[in-house]
Amino acid sequence: MSLRISTAPHMHNPLTTQRLMQYVFIALLPTAAWGVYAFGLKALLVLILSMASAVLAEYLWQLIAKQPVRIKDFSALVTGLILGLNLPATAPWWMVVVGSVFAVIVVKQLFGGLGDNFLNPAMAARAVLLASWPVHMTSSAFVSPTFFKAGVDAVSAATPLSAKSATLMELFLGQIPGTIGEVSKAAILLGFLFLLITGTISWRIPVVMTGSVFLFSLLIGGMTPEAALMATLSGGVLFGAVFMATDYVTSPITPLAQVFYACMIGLIIVLIRTFGSYPEGVTYGILLMNIATPLIDRFLPRKIYGHQKEAKKA
């Protein structure tokens, strides 16, 4: 009789990468559902197109590069969905495709594929689209939710950041113009709760990041507490904090490092919002700290068992 042989351990936690990606996908669904409800069929088409082109781009790349095809791991699907949620419902179809392909091919695959990208693919793609076609990406492209103002699609409205017109409740529920995914804070929090319950992410990055945006808005932005709260709930802060800054690959690993990373994102967001001429604090805050992540991971020392005394001597 022959038996298999392997080195221990002989059992694993049932949680796999695929399962984790599925959890993130599920956590994004409330946000996506609200986006489609608020912005109509057009939003649904943007989401489907961004997911389909992301998965197809990954599939074709892996086929051409003769790599094992890993589209079943859900990571390209999640990237596509997150990118779609970062776009306005009015985004032209070609821009959606360019964004997805850029995210998957340039940001992810060219740097080695899953796990080796140093920027969050969806965030980097958003930055590229923003720089290339600002008209399609910023407030001029944002429409009010269809059910909320009678004006419907054709009417463009300013984001609350530039003209503080929405109430706190409208901000929270998502009755405001914006990208498909960022508007409803309630839906985002629902997804956050799901990610916490399933143990997919820890609370640290989202909580510390939004907290630091609030705090720095008070301290640096010189806002009143109410205005700071509005600022925190405006734009993509919460969506970025829950779904983009927490990307495993591009965020630090140890608790202390995560707190530092999230704090710095908050600081950069407020600095850009206060002193910059560009309203895109969240995108660049997260991207800049993505780049700093390997450094943070390397330089925040850890206590290793049996090494304490040496450290004290040195």
Binding site: L3, A8, P9, H10, R70, G115, Y248, I253, G306
Partner: protein
């Protein structure tokens, strides 16, 4: 209940009803087979040398393999009968080892035993030699010769003997049953060692998912000088030597050092019971409790003679319940796969776990997604994902810089990894390579020195 523990760690099947549930309530029963194959290499250090030949008659407890030096223990016949072969069998590591095969005559005749009497009255200086003569090695799995552990180099001091009753491995209940069924012997063994080393404090650490064992040991230790029971949090690897020491004393063993550097000696509960048998009855180590579980029809806790063949043990447990994929000596987290079921059990075989085909399938690695679960699990505080990058490139210097030599190979990181990366196997590879390289370097240096003379 006030429990203590260490930092980080994991919870694989930590509820008693999972894994251990198959056997926890099964009383130990003895099983003796027709034939035993007794390996001469059951301890870390030099293997014993066979001192019987084919055709010899042996009694139980008779020395059949002589210790070769200080880092070695003798091997004893575990049944009475005729020696039918002295040959070599495959070892669990590399290459073959010598083994003595004895056909059991079921006469159960013992050699003449020389008991030393009560552990509270025995001459302390006789204890450690008696432990070596009885062939006792660490019975928790590591097989380190116990008398070596108890012999200190000049300047070393010990203030606490820790007895490991954590049994944090999955599936195994051998130590648990021993604590319930033979509590007094464990305390006797501990007392013998405390007296031999003139140590005033003895602590028995038990995970709090075994309250019955904690109660039994508390009762057995009543009125015994310096002995206390310490409930521990149920968490893997609570029974790891370094984690146990940290949980109980708050001290850490310095990197690269032995527990004695933290003024502690750690013994398994099974080892303690064997020590008591050696002192009180004069009996050498010829049998042990072994949990047989997983895909067998009738899981059991068996008192087995050393050298019992796995196939016979499985037969005693009703046979395989499914086609076996892997048969593991030890638990699921650190156990060793045996190549076939002709392998005999060793002094350290605390369990035989049979896995079915599906459980045995090797998992393909997928890319690391930097999720940090390995870092959150590592009881030592290493960054397993970084060491794996170095290991994949065979960059041993980088791995060493990342402290791979501090890795205890507990498997926690690999258990948690959602990408199923072969973390622990890679680290074992690194550690083996670095150790071998250091040895080769030392040998070369010694040779060069010799040449100069």
């Amino acid at each position: 209940m006030l429990t203590k523990t260490f930092k980080r760690g994991i919870h694989p099947l930590h509820n008693m009803h999972e894994g251990k549930g198959q056997t926890r309530d099964l009383k130990t029963r003895e099983y003796v087979s027709d034939t035993v194959v007794i390996s001469m290499a059951m301890n870390i250090g030099a293997p014993a040398k066979p001192c019987v030949k084919k055709g010899d008659h042996v009694d139980i407890g008779q020395v059949i393999g002589e210790a070769q030096g200080f880092m070695s223990v003798p091997v004893h016949a575990s049944v009475s009968g005729e020696v039918v072969a002295v040959d070599s069998i495959p070892s669990l590591g590399a290459g073959n080892v010598q083994a003595v095969t004895i056909k059991n005559d079921f006469a159960d005749t013992w050699v003449e035993l020389k008991p030393l009497g009560s552990v509270e009255k025995v001459d302390p200086s006789l204890v450690v030699p008696a432990i070596q003569a009885a062939g006792i090695t660490g019975m928790g799995g590591a097989s380190f010769p116990t008398h070596v552990k108890l012999t200190f180099q000049a300047g070393a001091t010990c203030d606490t003997i820790i007895v490991n009753g954590a049994e944090c491995e999955t599936h195994l209940t051998a130590d648990y049953r021993l604590m319930l069924e033979n509590s007094t012997r464990i305390v006797d063994g501990l007392r013998a060692v405390m007296r031999a080393l003139n140590v005033k404090k003895g602590v028995i650490g038990i995970e709090d998912n075994k309250p019955e064992a904690i109660t039994a040991m508390i009762n057995a230790s009543k009125g015994r000088e310096g002995v206390s029971i310490r409930p521990l949090k149920t968490k893997y690897p609570q029974g790891g030597e370094k984690q146990l020491i940290e949980a109980i004393t708050g001290r850490q063993v310095p990197s690269g050092g032995l527990p004695i550097a933290a003024h502690v000696v750690v013994l398994n509960v099974g080892t303690c019971a064997a020590i008591a048998d050696a002192i009180i009855d004069g009996k050498p180590l010829i049998s042990r409790i072994c949990t047989v579980t997983g895909c067998v029809r009738k899981p059991a806790n068996l008192l087995l003679r050393i050298g019992t063949i796995t196939e016979d043990v499985i037969g005693e447990c009703g046979g395989y319940s499914e086609t076996p994929g892997k048969v593991v000596f030890g638990g699921m987290m650190t156990g060793i796969c045996i190549p076939n079921d002709q392998m005999p059990i060793f002094k350290s075989t605390n369990g035989i776990v049979v896995l079915n085909e599906q459980q045995s399938r090797s998992k393909d690695e997928s890319p690391c997604i930097h999720c940090g679960r390995c870092v959150a699990a590592c009881p030592i505080g290493l960054n397993p994902y970084q060491i794996k990058v170095a290991a994949d490139k065979s960059d041993f210097a980088a791995a060493e810089k990342l402290h791979v030599m501090d890795c205890i190979l507990c498997g926690s990181c690999a258990y948690q990894c959602p990408s199923r990366r072969w973390l622990t196997p890679s680290f074992k590879y690194c550690k083996d390579h670095i150790t071998a390289e250091a040895k080769a370097k030392a040998a070369a240096a010694a040779a060069a020195k010799g040449g100069n003379k």
